[in-house]
Symmetry: C2
Subunit: 351 residues, 2 copies
């Protein structure tokens, strides 16, 4: 049934497009300098007999660990890997929680109550704790053995992902897994490659932002390591910061039910990465482009990713697509005039 709506009030009162964060490249370069710390954390952990790696966080901080968790699980024969919402983790912890577990807890402010509580709880049970947050002095850091910080107020998700990628690489090396020799080069190319990606994608993202509407729910489909970008775009940027109905669906599930809602009354965004799960999103895109109306494909193949070795593009495409998701939110703010900082409830009412 077509939903008849008044024309969107905000379209004629947009906001200026935010500039790409001036601290973007310096922040990510700073993250690369945490390599030695990541190696020390991994060395200590494996030396102390750690066998289980659990990432915890809430909302966007949960989603920012999906890339690392997926990367590790596909490569580590010796470690078990999980990514769990922090409140879920504390309420129903894995039975393996104990001294053999390294818990990597993420919270931008370092003050997210559930994540701080989960860190304290895990530490009491003997786990090793790593805080991933903005700075080195906050409650989460206080509850942890190590602090991996990125020092930026706005370059957050990509910074966390690169910190966790670095930690993942160190854990793999420490446990004797084969790591492609160019892995480090791919990571070091990212600060400028991701800046370039945003500049190049800006016109396309502006167009997508204009063609989305608050009246149509927006489904964000992706796969594998890029599910983090799909989660944060739908739940954080669209629902929280743009008051749009939205959700994320794994490409492997999309054609088993949800595709029935591919109609003129909903928008579909597909994040298409270059890792081994790409065939899943390709199949969705093929179907959606044949039958859908408001279908928007954001494909990392369109990005040069200068400096990233061709055979390792799949290792970093999820980070690149995450950055484009963040940038799409900027464009949506510009198109609608709805500030990304406006909230109904968050930090305004008790919950």
């Amino acid at each position: 049934m077509e939903c008849v709506v008044p024309s969107e009030k905000t379209t004629n009162a947009g906001l200026p497009l935010r500039p790409i964060e001036p601290d973007f490249v310096p922040t990510l370069r700073g993250v690369l300098e945490k390599r030695a710390l990541a190696e020390r954390i991994a060395g200590d952990a494996i030396g102390q007999g750690v066998t289980d790696i659990v990432f915890v966080g809430c909302g966007g901080s949960y989603s920012s660990s999906i890339h690392a968790a997926t990367f590790l699980e596909a490569r580590s024969t010796k470690l078990t890997i999980r990514n769990i919402n922090a409140a879920e983790f504390q309420a129903l912890p894995p039975a393996r929680l104990g001294p053999k577990m390294l818990v990597v807890a993420s919270s931008h402010s370092g003050g997210t109550p559930e994540t701080v509580a989960a860190a304290k709880f895990a530490r009491e049970r003997g786990a090793r704790l790593v805080a991933v947050s903005r700075d080195d002095d906050n409650p989460l850091v206080g509850a942890s053995h190590y602090s991996l910080s990125y020092g930026s107020e706005r370059t957050v998700t990509s910074a966390k992902q690169m910190l966790l990628a670095q930690l993942s690489h160190a854990l793999l090396e420490e446990t004797g897994e084969r790591l492609d020799p160019a892995t480090r080069a791919a990571l070091e190319a990212l600060p400028t490659a991701l800046l370039e990606a945003q500049e190049q994608a800006d016109p396309r993202l502006a167009e997508i932002a204009r063609r989305l509407t608050a009246e149509r729910p927006t489904y964000v489909v992706s796969s594998g390591p890029t599910m983090g970008a799909a989660f944060s775009l739908s739940l954080c940027y669209f629902m929280e910061m743009q008051w749009m109905n939205a959700s994320n669906i794994d490409a492997g599930d999309y054609l088993h039910g949800p595709f029935e809602m591919l109609t003129e009354n909903a928008s579909l965004i597909v994040f298409q990465g270059e890792d081994a799960t790409r065939p899943l999103t390709e199949r969705v895109v093929k179907f959606a482009e044949r039958h859908g109306t408001h279908v928007f494909v954001i494909d990392s193949r369109d990005l040069p990713l200068t400096g990233v070795p061709e055979h390792l593009r799949g290792d970093v495409s999820a980070v690149a697509l995450g950055v484009l998701g963040t940038r799409l939110a900027d464009h949506r703010e510009a198109a609608t005039g709805h500030s990304l900082d406006e909230r109904r409830y968050m930090h305004k009412v008790e919950y």
Copy 2:
């Protein structure tokens, strides 16, 4: 912005409410008779050195394993547990895939191409395979070492969940974990307790079905083992079978962004179970009842669950809520006149 819509065409042309499936109790009783087979599978697997349990499936078959995976992860110190979409599993398999992995593959028909392919792929890599499907003669069974079947066309999710619960119990016993002595009694109470639950909940579910609308997206929030019920209600019953915009969100993430869309333009269903994650949904309910308009709480505490020992209600509440989700779909069909069997694309076009 209020979405002005014509009155729903289908509300005045409902369908008769389907009866509760006549095969409901016999099917679940039949499942209980698979106990010896579950014990044999577990005994063989652990005897052969299995350390990793991976559940695979697509869509509703993926979600029907969430209960067992959550149950096992919280109790097993010796096994690693994962639940992965079958296409994701084959595209980017866990590095641990090999002879020490037991892959439990679910597909109602036993013919889901991605799940059959994942089973064959895992078996080639040395894994032990268990098929969970309707019958004992289908492609998935052909690719597997064992077949756990439930023999019903319509009593599906609860049957799968009970088969997997039984297998989980056997795996825990086989690996020497403590299992509450009343665990079996709780399972044996379910066939009649779940029938009773549906009969008792029918009036309330009918009311919820009438108050949902296709114009408002419906968010289904839950936690822990009950996320399976939230997944299947939103993606299978609402999106696929009722053409409603819907999604599922973990209660631990809900207050970190998505709650900003708790408005008069969306519906919220909270599945509230009695496992250790209940505080997460209680917090959401408290917030939503204060600020929301179309908020519907489905709480297993309202069910007698006759015969289930009080202290084990949390082990089975997710199964009970899953059954109520299925029954809610029946009521929604009755209220809208939109047959649960109608499809736009599934099995009608190429994809």
